[in-house]
Subunit: 426 residues, 2 copies
C-alpha cells in the first residue's frame, strides 16, 4: 500500500517502526559517504599500469619528437589530442588539452569572457550589465557555483526526460539579450542520468540568441561513461551548430577524471577553430603550457579512442552493480510506498531521487545524524535552493558494495521517517 | 682599443672584417636558439628516476593516507607542502601547491583581484579606475604581458645593482593610490641576475601604500638556482612584511619548472594565511584540486628541501660552464672594444647584455638572419619598448656548449657590426 493511502494509524505504526530501525543504525556509529561522484579505489587501480607508461626506462618524446619534459606546446601534444578529437568528433585545431581539471577550463572560460569578452570584438560580460544564465535543474552544484560567484542571475530550467525544457530555453535565449549562457551535461546528466535527445540537440544548435555572445557550456563529462552494453547516443553539437552557422555558440568540455584518475587526469575543451584561436590568444598569457608528461602518459596507455572505450567497460563492471544495488533497494522499499521517484541511469555517476515535496532536507539531515553523508539537499539547484525541497543526488560509486547497501538502508529508513512525518502533519 | 676611440678608417676596417666573418656564419645555415630560459635535455635527464617514484609497483598514498589518485585536497598534499614551506620559509597554512605553472598562479591571482578584489571587502581592480603597475626593467616579458593584457598602465622602474630603484618605488606606491602592484624577481633576477639586497627587501616590506590593495608579486623563480658555491642570500619578504604589519601585501611564487621538469613540474604560491584563505575561497570554485600524483612524485623523489638543494648542484654542474662560456666570449671579444656591458650572474637563467644605445634590435635581427634566435630586443621591457634599444637577454642553458660557443660567435660578430655602423653614422 502506498503511504498516501494509509490511515493515520498505519502511518504512525510505520513511523514508529522506522524510527526504531533508525535508532539501531545510529547506534552502529556508521561513517559512510554517498555525497560525491568519486571513483572507488578499485576503479583507480584499473589504470595502475598507466603510471609506467612514462618512466625512467622510457623516453618522454611525443610522436612528433616534442620533449614533453620541457616548455612549450600550449594546446597539448598531438598524441593526446588525437584521442580526444576522436572521442568528441572534432578536428585538431578545434581542441585544447588542458591540465587535470575540466571544471578549471570552464571557470577560466567564463572568467575570460567576463574579463575580455567572447571575442576580440565583443563586450566583456563584466561590462554587459546584468548577465542571466540558464541552469537546467536538477544539475551540477559546481557549475552553478561558478556562475553564482560571478554574480550572474541563475534561472532554473526544468529537465525533461529528453533534456532541458527547450520551449523555455528558446524563449529566453532568443528573446532576452542578457541571457549569455547555459550549463549542460548532455549525456548521462548530473544528476538525472538522462541523455539529450537528437531533437533537443538540434534545437540547441538552431538557437537564434538575442545575445550574439550567448554560449552553450556543453560539459560532456560522461560521454564514455556507459553502464550498459546498449549505450545512449548523443548528437555532435559542434557539427549541428555548424549546419546552422552557429559554430561559435558552443564550448565542449570533457576529461579523464573518471577514466584514469579523478585527481590526476587530463581535461580538454573543444570548440570552433575561431573560438579555440581566441582562447589560445588569452591562454598564452596565462601559461606556457600544461603538463605534457601526463598527456603523454595518457596517450601511451590508452593508445586511441578504442582504448578508452575498452577501458570504460572495466569501470562499468565495477560500478554497474553498485547502481543496481541502489535501484534494487529503492525498487523494493520505496516504490511500493510511493514516497519517492528516481531514475535508472544507463550511464554517468548519479541517481537522482525525489522525495515527497518538502522532505529532502529532513532526509539528508537524518542520514547525516546516522553517519551517512549525502550531497546536501538543494545542492542540485542554483543558490542551493530546491523550490520543492525534494531532490537528493545519490552517488553510489565510492563506497564498497556492502557499505553502499548499509548506507541505502539508512537512506530508505530516513525517507520513510520524513515521509510519514510529513503525511501525518498534513 | 675601444671602438669609440677608433678613427673612421679603423671602424670601417673592423666593420668590413666583421661582415666577412658574418657572411661566413650565414653560409653555415645555422639553427641555434638562445631565446628562452629552457633547461637542456641533460638537465631534464637528472630527474629521470622521479618518474618511477609513483608507479604500478608503488601506492599513491600521501603520508596522511590521502589517495592522490582521487579528488580532493585543494591546497596540495602535506608531503609536498613541507618541502616548499621549508624552501620559502612559510607555514603550511601560508602555502598552496598548484599545477605545473607558477605563471598560471600569477595570472589567476591578478585575474582574481581584477574580478573580485584582493579580499571580500576590497573593490575589484576592474572597478578601481586606472590601475598602474610597476615593472622593474629590464624584466620578464611574460610578467609584463599579463599586466598589459589586463590594460594596466605599466611603469618602468630602473633596476640597480641591489634591486629596483626604491626611491622611485616608495614615491609611486606611497603617494599614488592607482598603483596596485609591482612585479619582482628578487633572486637572480630575470634577466639581470641580481639579488635584492637586505635593505631593498626591508624597504619593500616597509612600504606604506596609498592603495590598501597594493600587492607585491614576488616571483622567487630562481630561489634555489645557484651557479656558485657561495650563493646569494635573500631576506624572507613575508617575515619582513609581518614585522611591519604588512603581511597581506605580498604574494610569493615559485616552481620546480627548472628543478624537475619545465613542462611538468609543481608550482606554489605563498602568502599570509589571510591571503591564502581568500585565494582558496575563490579557488574552490575554480577547481576541485590540482594534480596530486605529480605532487607526490616530487615529494617522494626530493624527500625534503635538502634534497632540492642537493639536486640543484647537479643542474649547476651542467649549466655553470655554459654561463662561463658566454662570459668568456664576451670578456674576450666585447669588453676590449667597449661595445657592450653585461652582468656575471651567480644564479638564475640569464645574462643581460646592453649594447650601445640603439643597437639591440639590429643585433637581434643580424643574429636571426644568420640562424641564431635571441629573445626579441625590447622583450625585457613593458610593451616591448626598450627606450634605449640596448637590452638583449641571453639564455645560455638550452644549447649544447659547442652550439652555444658557435652562437656566441655570431652574436659577437653581430654586436661588432651594429656598433661599428652606429659609430660610423655619428
Amino acid at each position: 500500500m502506498e503511504m498516501k493511502d494509509m490511515s493515520k494509524e498505519q502511518l504512525s505504526e510505520l513511523l514508529s517502526a522506522a524510527k526504531k530501525e533508525y535508532d539501531g543504525y545510529k547506534a552502529l556509529g556508521l561513517a559512510l559517504n554517498m555525497a560525491r561522484g568519486k571513483p572507488a579505489a578499485d576503479q583507480l587501480d584499473l589504470t595502475k599500469d598507466m603510471l609506467d607508461a612514462v618512466s625512467s626506462s622510457t623516453d618522454c618524446k611525443a610522436l612528433d619528437g616534442t620533449d614533453c619534459r620541457n616548455y612549450g606546446v600550449l594546446d597539448g601534444i598531438k598524441d593526446t589530442k588525437k584521442i580526444f578529437c576522436d572521442m568528441l568528433g572534432v578536428a585538431e585545431d578545434e581542441l585544447i588539452v588542458g591540465g587535470n581539471s575540466s571544471l578549471n577550463l570552464m571557470y577560466d572560460t567564463i572568467a575570460r569572457n567576463f574579463m575580455f569578452g567572447v571575442s576580440k570584438e565583443a563586450t566583456p560580460w563584466k561590462d554587459a550589465g546584468k548577465v542571466k544564465w540558464l541552469c537546467p535543474v536538477p544539475g551540477y552544484d559546481r557549475h552553478f557555483a561558478i556562475t553564482e560567484r560571478f554574480g550572474f542571475e541563475l534561472i532554473n530550467i526544468p529537465m525533461n526526460a529528453d533534456g532541458p525544457d527547450m520551449d523555455m530555453v528558446e524563449k529566453l535565449v532568443n528573446e532576452d539579450s542578457s541571457v549569455k549562457g547555459i550549463w549542460c551535461v548532455p549525456m548521462y546528466s548530473n544528476p538525472t542520468g538522462i541523455t539529450f535527445s537528437d531533437e533537443v540537440v538540434k534545437r540547441f544548435a538552431a538557437l537564434k540568441p538575442a545575445a550574439k555572445d550567448f554560449r552553450i557550456f556543453w560539459d560532456n563529462a560522461y560521454c564514455v561513461h556507459h553502464l550498459t552494453d546498449t549505450p545512449d547516443t548523443l548528437l555532435n553539437i559542434l557539427d549541428e551548430c555548424k549546419k546552422n552557422g552557429n559554430e561559435d555558440m558552443v564550448y565542449i568540455f570533457a576529461s579523464t577524471s573518471k577514466v584514469s584518475y579523478a585527481g590526476a587526469g587530463v581535461a580538454v575543451m573543444a570548440a570552433s577553430k575561431n573560438n579555440i584561436d581566441y582562447v589560445k590568444y588569452h591562454m598564452t598569457v596565462q601559461t606556457i603550457g600544461f603538463d605534457k608528461i601526463n598527456q603523454l602518459r595518457h596517450a601511451r596507455y590508452f593508445k586511441d579512442f578504442d582504448g578508452i572505450k575498452a577501458h570504460m567497460k572495466k569501470h562499468a563492471a565495477i560500478i554497474a552493480p553498485k547502481f543496481d544495488a541502489v535501484i534494487k533497494a529503492l525498487d523494493e522499499n520505496i516504490r511500493p510506498l510511493g514516497i519517492g521517484s528516481y531514475n535508472t541511469p544507463r550511464g554517468g555517476y548519479f541517481i537522482s531521487f525525489d522525495t515527497l515535496p518538502g522532505c529532502a532536507k529532513k532526509v539528508v539531515s537524518l542520514c547525516k545524524d546516522a553517519g551517512v553523508i549525502m550531497t546536501g539537499a538543494g545542492a542540485t539547484f542554483p543558490y542551493g535552493k530546491d523550490p520543492q525541497d525534494s531532490n537528493i543526488r545519490i552517488a553510489p560509486t565510492l563506497p564498497p558494495i556492502d557499505e553502499l547497501e548499509q548506507a541505502m538502508k539508512v537512506f530508505i529508513c530516513s525517507v520513510k521517517i520524513a515521509s510519514a512525518e510529513k503525511l501525518l502533519a498534513e
